[in-house]
């Protein structure tokens, strides 16, 4: 039932009240609120202020938002009233961010290290320095590398970014002459993209047409808490439950699972078996969506348990290889067999499969990182996404969708600004070892195409392929956010000169030689991002809605500019020339004379087609000023069936070279010709076989099965005998990735994560298991894995299955601030970091950092 705001307002009792829709998603112009405090002759109400548009980067939804500013202060947050992604609403992260911009531990001046010794708990002896001294030092250190002919020994580590990333990530690094621009991307989701690419040809996250779904199968994530549609899904879940079925696959009870009709608590890492069993039911019962998959030529279903089927008997439509997939991986995975492997009851597997098929094609199989970010997760990600193919929901009403286009400009060519040294050295091998035999990282089919952020530590420690001498990191904290976190402490100790651009003195900052106070992206930075939710792509601005309280730096634009100026003083003007000449104001043609102008011109350059009247679809915006005021642009709704008719892949010929984007067969692939080509390409590069590559990458199967979604038993670090519990890591709905833990509200409301307790960092355990260990609720415990130990609190909870234990990622900071850490000066953590427990491991085919799939065994002791 819809609660109509206007109905209520009509009934409002206040005499002379005016309905000022300044508080939520109306479609009026942003209310200036100059006439605030209207009630009772101005004695009642909000004092004057203005809602200003920006973007939240608390998670990867990148919600267009508005911030209420009174007297130059940010005081409240809501969704952008024009947003078709979040309908003018934000999730709890939006409100929480006020404690980040006004965080008493923010770095307010550039600082330098005075203690050369680096390590956790060692005081770096930071002292304030001028901006000039900071940039002179950085430029000297970097130019020394060029002088020595080794610019590759400079590395840029990128964390959370905006689309102004091109400037610091590509321009600085490549013009300087290093191949080492490293993105954090592989830390959270590359295996998920792998699953989508090697079935439907998208290296990216799917969108979901939830308004029209009749069945939603959520797999390994919690869409009302995280993933890429949070406010939209919060708004819709209740209605979806009323008109459709929601089933949630997650080894522990999550928020969506708590409300859903079906919860399938599988054993961690057995996702592939469950997905294949669902496929088995759909195929053996003849329930697949024939308009998409096709049918047997004579209409008779030959998919019988265990039976090999003749491929020529089936005529496919939009898909490729359904029979071969059945023969290679599905025919023997009966619900009974899967029930044994997964511990999900047979009848539930059958019920869910039939329910999905009955709702076809209006089915959204929502694949999250839990299904994918496993040691052997590449194939389970494919298996889960293959279900979308079977029920024909790909690009379909109520199903999964690719993103509509955001007509942003591409980065201007920079080749002309690279000297010979830069040209040569920026093509050297990267420090993360991507594309080596053991790390295929097959982004979009290319060996070594993907980033392997967490392997950078390995490269640094082994000085392989060489040593890193100068590094810059921005909006990142790999010492905290990478599994096997302690490797990063050692790696950072080894880097002779490190610059950190950051809001807070984070764990990574403790290893810095120069620290630059970063702008808070949501409140203080001008830049833009693109994203999609709910069928609509968006381009949204992050804007300085308040004046910073001290000088801060826009990491992605100010830093390159200021560095460029210093390089020019040292006889290397290439970088500043590129920035000046290639990013002229698109309206006036003026060249920037300072960092602030440059930032604005660059944002205008990239976004111009959304406000200069040239964009054919989407919102019509009359000029830059209006774009800044609105803060965002919506695309048209993503059309359905855009890739049906053999458009899941496309061959392109460029410079006489043929390549394919998307799937090789141009169809939705159950038998992945695309993966076959990629694996054979990687094997060929290393003069070996695909089977050898698979073994090297910790996979078990050999032969043809490597090219279809199939089941691989979970890989686990630590024996069951020594480490009896399987650890489950997941994201708190209050996490701004790792950045909200210095906010007191985070702890106050931590109990909004099911099974969690406020002001504690709890490991959830089933009461039966706790009983066996003699543990009482609230006991202080030590949790140990092969990688390390943490201390936290035990909480008994029935939402977790026996044999497994779960803890939300987020706490365990030993730096970052007074609230986040227990003792900042001594490097003592508050709670425990899951990344200390989880060892470093990789889903090697995608390059993804492993977080899920039950790969960490732990033991628990009372303290």
């Amino acid at each position: 039932m819809q609660i109509k705001r206007r109905d209520f307002l009509k009934l409002s009792m206040a005499a002379g009240a005016t309905a000022v829709l300044s508080s939520c998603g109306g479609t009026k112009e942003p209310a200036m609120n100059a006439l605030a405090a209207k009630g009772a002759g101005g004695k009642i109400g909000e004092l004057p202020g203005e809602w200003k548009a920006s973007t939240c980067q608390g998670c990867t939804c990148w919600c267009p938002v508005e911030i209420f500013v009174q007297d130059g202060r940010a005081v409240k947050v809501q969704g952008n009233r024009y947003s078709k992604q979040n309908d003018g609403k934000v999730c709890p992260r939006g409100h929480l961010s006020l404690q980040q911009v006004y965080d008493p531990d923010r770095v307010k001046v550039p600082m330098k290290r005075t203690n050369p010794k680096k390590g956790r708990g060692i005081d770096p002896g930071f002292v304030p320095i001028s901006w000039d001294e900071a940039f002179n030092t950085i430029a000297d250190q970097m130019m020394a590398l060029r002088k020595a002919g080794e610019p590759e020994k400079y590395m840029l580590l990128r964390g959370r970014y905006t689309y102004m990333r091109d400037l610091i990530y590509d321009a600085v690094t490549k013009i300087f002459g290093s191949p080492n621009n490293i993105s954090h991307s592989s830390l959270c989701a590359e295996a998920e993209n792998f699953g989508a690419y090697y079935t439907e040809g998208i290296w990216g996250y799917r969108d979901y047409d939830i308004d029209n779904s009749k069945y939603v199968l959520v797999w390994g994530c919690d869409p009302v808490s995280s993933n890429r549609m949070v406010p939209a899904m919060i708004k819709r879940l209740g209605d979806v439950l009323d008109r459709a079925t929601v089933a949630v696959v997650d080894p522990k009870l999550n928020n969506t699972g708590a409300k859903a009709q079906e919860w399938l608590p599988l054993l961690p890492g057995t996702d592939g078996a469950l997905a294949l069993a669902i496929a088995h039911v759909i195929l053996s019962e003849g329930l697949w969506f024939k308009e998409f998959v096709g049918d047997f030529k004579d209409g008779k279903n030959l998919f019988k348990v265990g039976a090999t089927v003749d491929e020529t008997a089936f005529l496919e439509k939009e898909t490729h290889g359904v029979v071969r997939w059945w023969n290679l991986a599905v025919k023997d995975m009966t619900p009974a067999k899967a029930a044994e492997i997964t511990k999900v009851p047979v009848e539930q597997i059958i019920r869910v499969a039939r329910g999905m098929a009955a709702a076809a094609p209006n089915v959204a199989v929502w694949m999250g990182p839990g299904a994918a970010m496993q040691v052997r997760g590449g194939y389970s990600a494919m298996a889960v996404n293959a279900l979308n193919g079977l029920v024909g929901s790909v690009d379909n009403v109520g199903g999964t969708l690719p993103s509509n286009k955001v007509p942003a400009k591409k980065m201007p060519e920079l080749g002309a600004y690279q000297d010979d040294l830069a040209k040569k050295h920026s093509k050297l091998k990267k420090i993360d070892q991507r594309g080596t035999k053991a790390y295929p990282a097959l982004n979009e089919g290319k060996s070594g195409g993907g980033s392997m952020a967490n392997n950078v530590a390995t490269g640094i420690l082994a000085a392989d392929p060489y040593d890193i001498k100068v590094a810059v990191g921005y909006m990142n904290n790999f010492v905290f956010s990478c599994s096997g976190a302690e490797r990063w402490e050692k790696a950072m100790e080894k880097i002779p000169f490190f610059v950190h651009i950051t809001t807070n003195a984070a764990e990574m900052t403790q290893y810095a030689d120069i620290v630059l106070p970063g702008a808070h992206a949501k409140f203080e930075k001008l830049c833009w991002v693109k994203q999609k939710q709910n069928r609509y792509a968006q381009c949204t601005l992050l804007q300085p809605v308040i004046e910073p309280l001290w000088q801060v730096i826009n990491d992605e634009t100010d830093f390159p500019w200021m560095l460029g100026e210093k390089f020019a003083e040292r006889g290397f003007p290439n970088l500043i020339d590129y920035l000046k000449k290639e990013f002229k104001d698109p309206e006036t043609g003026k060249m920037a004379t300072n960092a602030k102008e440059f930032t604005e011109y660059a944002v205008k350059y990239y976004t111009q087609d959304m406000w200069n009247g040239k964009s054919k679809g989407g919102d019509k915006i009359a000029g830059w000023e209006e774009f800044k005021k609105r803060g965002m642009w919506n695309s048209d709704a993503q059309p359905y069936k855009s890739r049906w008719g053999g458009k899941f892949g496309k061959d392109v010929e460029k410079d006489g070279k043929k390549t394919t984007t998307g799937t090789v067969s141009h169809k939705f692939e159950f038998y992945s010709e695309t993966l076959k080509k990629a694996l054979e390409g990687h094997a060929g590069k290393h003069k070996t076989t695909v089977d050898d590559i698979l073994s090297t990458c910790n996979y078990i199967v050999q032969g043809e099965q490597a090219f279809v979604p199939h089941y691989e038993p979970p890989f686990r670090h630590g024996s069951k005998e020594e480490y009896p519990f399987t650890f489950i890591d997941y994201k708190s709905r209050l996490n701004h990735e790792g950045r909200s833990q210095n906010s007191p509200w985070y702890y106050e409301f931590k109990h909004v994560d099911p099974g969690d307790v406020g002001h504690q960092d709890v490991l959830k355990i089933n009461p039966a298991d706790a009983g066996k260990l003699g543990l009482k609720d609230g006991d202080a415990i030590r949790v140990t894995s092969v990688a390390g130990s943490i201390e936290c609190t035990i909480h008994l909870w029935e939402g977790i299955q026996p044999g497994t234990v779960a803890k939300a990622f987020g706490q365990g900071h030993w730096a970052y601030g007074r609230t986040a850490s227990k003792d900042f000066a001594k490097g003592k953590p508050r709670g425990g970091n899951n990344n200390t427990l989880m060892p470093f491991d990789t889903e090697r085919l995608s390059g993804a950092n492993v977080r899920n799939g039950g790969f960490t065994g732990v033991k628990i002791e009372r303290l």
Binding site: M1, I3, M13, L47, R73, K76, G79, A505, P754, E798
Partner: protein, 254 residues
Amino acid sequence: MTQYAMVIDLRKCVGCGSCALACKTENNTALRKNGQTHNWADYIHETTGKFPDTKYRTLPVLCNHCSKAPCVEACPVEPKAMFKTAEGITMHNDERCIGCRACQEACPYSMSEVKKDGAYGQYSVISYNDEGAPTHPFFTDKTELIKGCTTSGAELAAKTGALPPDKTAYRHPDYEAVRRDNIVEKCIFCDHRLKNGELPYCVSACPSGARAVGDINDPASEVAKQLKQHKHFVLKPDGGTKPNVYYIREYAAR
């Protein structure tokens, strides 16, 4: 007679935390200290059943604006600091409050000391600001984590000219946007917004649209219609207080 009430649709609610956080940003409430939560909106969470038949729900809680409000009854001040408005809101006048905490004692939804939180079903809709203590000590603290390099709460307050720095400034004849010491505080249904035709901030901020406010005695109101259509319950129905926060529908669909 007008009686303002809130209806919370549990099927829509996902327990996300937005309403309680939004309330803190609107009403500038303090951080938990000395057993006082200072959360005008909060949650209790209930887990029932055994794995795998586990059930879980979140109940958002706030002042029930009871028709027979024991907090009003208990207020010893004349005229009362805790009183009912013509719209049925249980209102608090900051100026008249003497900080005796009789209201907190009398309220069945409040505790004089909250040791745990919603995970254990504990909350308090009335909180007390200690005598002689600053409301926001987090932002009066002068400690710098890295001397001369990082800021401090006090510096943020000084530079922004507000305490807390993210203070939403508003006016109301009965209450201040930030409480002084030695008075109690609680949800007042954002009367400073209602009086201007705006919804209470928790209602407008709720991303699921689970909350509605209106006159329950007006059959045409949304809240009255919802209660007519759905089975509903209140917290502690047997207390004789006639609470006016209603819950409709089941949180879970299984």
